[in-house]
Symmetry: C2
Subunit: 297 residues, 2 copies
Amino acid sequence: MSDQVRIVEVGPRDGLQNEKSILELRDKIALVNALSKTGLRDIETGSFVSPKWVPQMANSGEAFKGITKNPSVRYSALTPNLKGYELARDAGADEVAIFAAASEGFSQKNINCSISESIERFKGITEQAKRDQIPVRGYLSCIFACPYDGATPIEVVIDACEKLFEIGCYEVSLGDTTGVGTAYETKTLMQHLTPRFDTARLALHFHDTYGQALANVYAGLEAGVRNFDASVAGLGGCPYAKGASGNLATEDLVYLLDRSGLQHGVDLEALIDAGNEICTTLGRRNLSAVARARSSS
Amino acid sequence: MSDQVRIVEVGPRDGLQNEKSILELRDKIALVNALSKTGLRDIETGSFVSPKWVPQMANSGEAFKGITKNPSVRYSALTPNLKGYELARDAGADEVAIFAAASEGFSQKNINCSISESIERFKGITEQAKRDQIPVRGYLSCIFACPYDGATPIEVVIDACEKLFEIGCYEVSLGDTTGVGTAYETKTLMQHLTPRFDTARLALHFHDTYGQALANVYAGLEAGVRNFDASVAGLGGCPYAKGASGNLATEDLVYLLDRSGLQHGVDLEALIDAGNEICTTLGRRNLSAVARARSSS
């Protein structure tokens, strides 16, 4: 197994879109710029979904244009459709991400179609992105459970992964959207996925709602996964359990990797500074245990 | 490997002694009584160290006498010397615990003697306890690092474990006192310990200071460990990083076990209620992610 781990920083997008406060453009640009100096190589910077749905992301185009680009960083954007894709591309996104759910109930309630149809619809993006030589990442949510359907059968995850790869995603990020899964469930899921897919093309995306995120990461690492999403300062709440924790904090992931002989290239102290800064701006508690311990000792 | 996990609840002792507020006797009794109805079978109830050092534990004798004993529960006490042991025994403790550090620096600074000498001194307790048929548990702290000496060599942990078993401990609880260790370090440590000791006689005791506690537990479970210490609501801070999290929250551990097919006998909802109750009494935040998610959804 490789000792190189890739961290995809999702704070400025997945994190901020689940925060109560809407960040001003200059503060969002400052966050992305600060993150781009920490050694992170992948920063999800914005989303081109309708501002009616996600007002926190309305200024994504301006954010992309306002940041100081670090040529070593890949800045990505979430895109729901071809129009969003074109806006992202024209704003300068280096990569785009599309999203499906491993739950028919979630898919129906959120986008009013089946999982297959939802993935099929993204072909417009993947085909154009191929012409534009822009890599497309696939998010698959609800890998363990869905707020509507309950437990997710592993076959549904496998099937949706296959379809996302088929339409041209270079990687699938498997997300435990409600944060309910445990390390044993990650281990079991990976036992089914690693024989079927190239593990280097799988990523894991955990939420800390039930305090299980880092244990899930460790189970993923033990299964050979080397791509993980995380959010600086644990930005982002959980829409299904108000007041609960959201994304895994990048600092806590980096701390684990630092003491595990795994390479990732991120400077923990610079990351903690970036996290503390955005928490001050948002007037919120830093949800990274590492940041709290380091800042209080 | 067994699918039975034993949880040693340390909230009323290790937890409360690191809280700022000193709990009144009736509240401490209420906590232990509430915990004794959750299905927990081991509750560390108090400590017979000098009240000058640990004022939070000054009323341990009264607490032992005031609780409503559940015959299925083993109520234990921390005892620093033969006098403390006799007080614990006479107050009705079913089990006692002694403590050593896997660090010469910690041992010298805290009790002014070497690790070996500190364990040797506990012989007075283990010999008397044998006559009284009271089981003695050994705590070994600083298994990964010490605030004075830095990283702990594994040989020191092995040597101290051997000595604790030699003088008559039925089990050794290995504690990451400063919470700095990661799952990889737990895995490595257990690779050295499991060939040398009966794994059924080892317990793990993690602090969540750096957010690593549950990942460490999972690494321990994967190594075959089936005894874990935890503290309801994450009671207890970290004396080495003020404001940081303390003990692993029992609720988060139970949640992991519940979804892993491992048996433990604890009712999660009753445990969450007990944790919320003590947090209200102490006027503190509940540090169990599971308790927060369940109480806010």
